[in-house]
């Protein structure tokens, strides 16, 4: 696939963006066009982009169809990150399709799809990602637990879930989004150095001053373990930039 990214002015990449509507509250303009406009406005070069409805679909293939179609006019800046549900038939095709489309990663949602991160579905997904050189994005939470809709009952990922995931295959590289400081520390220091090197964390759920969580994690866990992430269209993308500025 043609590399349409070479001419971009900066290398700030949002690893935690999505598009599409959410069943539990209205997200204003959750479209690729709005995302591109916000990236432009805020000086963010590109975004890895998932598809919100696919979190709740059983058969995610239709969601991936929609994601790829939506992003096609914007591929210079928006890199699709399709969903893969290894507990549902046909998931291998979605993984192959992600590779063929030049996607950097795939997303999966164990709590929503109903599989164990230490179980056979996860093992197969991890092996597939490793074989195809696709990173796997796992999301700890979609929304703040204090504001979830009463029908929104999927569990948040625990440290045990993430430790099991990183241990299940030596070739699996994980990007974990929306993790809080305690979870980052628990998993990072509950992993071998080799396992920890295969983990990256986005900054969307880490706070700045006066607690200075992000700055502290830079020192203890290492700056190289963190990637930029906004959690668009749920959250103001400005927040990722302000915490980055205040952590320097």
């Amino acid at each position: 696939m043609e590399d349409r990214r070479a001419a971009l002015p900066t290398e700030l990449v949002d690893h935690n963006a999505l598009v599409g509507p959410y069943p539990f509250r209205r997200l204003p303009d959750p479209t690729p066009e709005r995302l591109v406009a916000d990236l432009e406005r805020l000086g963010i070069a590109r975004a890895w982009v998932g598809h919100v409805p696919s979190i709740y679909y059983r058969d995610v293939a239709a969601g991936n169809d929609e994601l790829l179609r939506w992003l096609e006019p914007h591929r210079a800046r928006l890199l699709p990150v399709p969903a893969v549900n290894p507990a549902y038939p046909g998931w291998e095709r979605e993984l192959e399709r992600a590779r063929a489309e030049g996607c950097p990663a795939v997303r999966s949602y164990p709590a929503h799809y109903g599989f164990d991160t230490g179980g056979p579905e996860m093992r197969a997904l991890a092996a597939g990602c490793a074989d195809l050189h696709l990173q796997l994005v796992l999301t700890v939470r979609i929304e703040d637990g204090r504001q979830r809709h009463r029908l929104d009952v999927a569990a948040e990922l625990l440290g045990a879930d993430l430790r099991a995931a990183v241990r299940i295959h030596r070739g699996l590289h994980l990007v974990v989004t929306n993790a809080d400081r305690g979870l980052v520390e628990e998993v990072h220091f509950g992993a071998t150095p080799g396992e920890a090197e295969r983990l990256q964390w986005d900054i969307a759920w880490l706070w700045g001053p006066p607690d200075d969580q992000l700055a502290a994690l830079y020192r203890t866990v290492g700056r190289q373990r963190f990637v930029f992430g906004t959690h668009f269209p749920f959250r103001l993308p400005e927040a990722a930039l302000t915490k980055l500025a205040l952590a320097e």
């Binding site: 509250r25 703040d144 504001q147 103001l236 400005e238 302000t242």
Partner: protein, 271 residues
């Protein structure tokens, strides 16, 4: 995005400082971090409270009278050390009514500018009436810690939501209240819908929540004239909301109102 401070006054109506009796060894570092980040953001006045010992010798949201007094004294000391830059709320636990009233009298006489209610007693409870009445008499606002929509009890707090605060505000029409941290977790839309017709409750924008659509609904339901800017425990998210407001094509007068003018009127600050 430029990281440079924007011009003009900026009042943070929801700040906290720590002190040596909070049981944390880095209390001075955290305070310094708040001030340094404030300088970076462009905050010209931090209006702050200390909730007793923040859990060290009594619970954060149910502080003992001794811890309330110690915290308020520490708050006054910080304000004295940073004249003009830091102002203080008098924190009270309304379960100890006589003590609460005495602390307010003492604090206001020493230059504190508002009253802070944590989550020691539901906002609608009659025990808050003496506090609200005294605040109205002295013309200072009451900042109430709020859980955005109360659907169940939670540990370690007697939580209140916008409806609870509205009940108190209805009984004290001459008092002015601030609904704490609309971004502080919970169903913020519930709070904003509930406050649409409650003129003596203002909304502070602080909290870690930076949901898209929140600011728009604040403007729609409460209006810019009842919005106050603040940070609480996450200054990065406060700054993000300030940036987002600046990107919303609001009139300069509206933005200035949210940034400082409304706060200056409410707290009678000379800026």
């Amino acid at each position: 995005m430029t990281a440079a401070p924007v011009a003009g006054p900026l009042v943070d109506v929801h700040a906290h400082f720590l002190h040596e009796r909070c049981g944390t060894s880095d209390w001075a570092e955290r305070n310094a971090s708040r001030l340094a980040a404030g300088a970076r953001i462009g905050i010209t006045v931090h209006i702050a409270s200390i909730l007793g010992s923040f859990g060290h010798t009594s619970p954060t949201y149910f502080p003992s009278p001794a811890d309330v007094s110690a915290g308020n004294e520490a708050m006054r000391a910080i304000a004295r050390a940073h004249p003009g830059l830091v102002r203080g709320y008098v924190t009270v636990n309304p379960n100890y009514t006589d003590h609460a009233v005495a602390e307010i009298e003492l604090g206001l006489a020493a230059g504190m500018v508002g009253v802070k209610l944590a989550a020691s007693r539901r906002a609608s409870d009659a025990l808050l009436d003496p506090v609200a009445a005294l605040a109205a008499e002295r013309g200072v606002p009451v900042l109430q810690h709020i859980w955005q929509r109360r659907v169940r009890d939670v540990p370690n707090q007697e939580i209140s939501d916008a409806l609870d605060l509205a009940a108190l505000a209805a009984r004290h029409g001459g008092a002015r209240f601030i609904l704490g941290h609309i971004g502080g977790g919970g169903d913020w839309a519930h709070s904003l819908r509930a406050l649409a017709t409650v003129p003596n409750i203002f909304v502070d924008l602080s909290g870690s929540g930076v949901d898209r659509a929140m600011l728009e609904l604040c403007l729609e339901c409460v209006g810019p004239e009842r919005l106050l800017w603040g940070t609480d425990l996450t200054m990065d998210t406060g700054w993000a909301k300030l940036r987002a407001l600046a990107a919303m094509d609001l009139e300069d007068e509206v933005l200035e109102g949210i940034r400082w003018k409304t706060a200056a009127r409410l707290f009678r600050l000379s800026l």
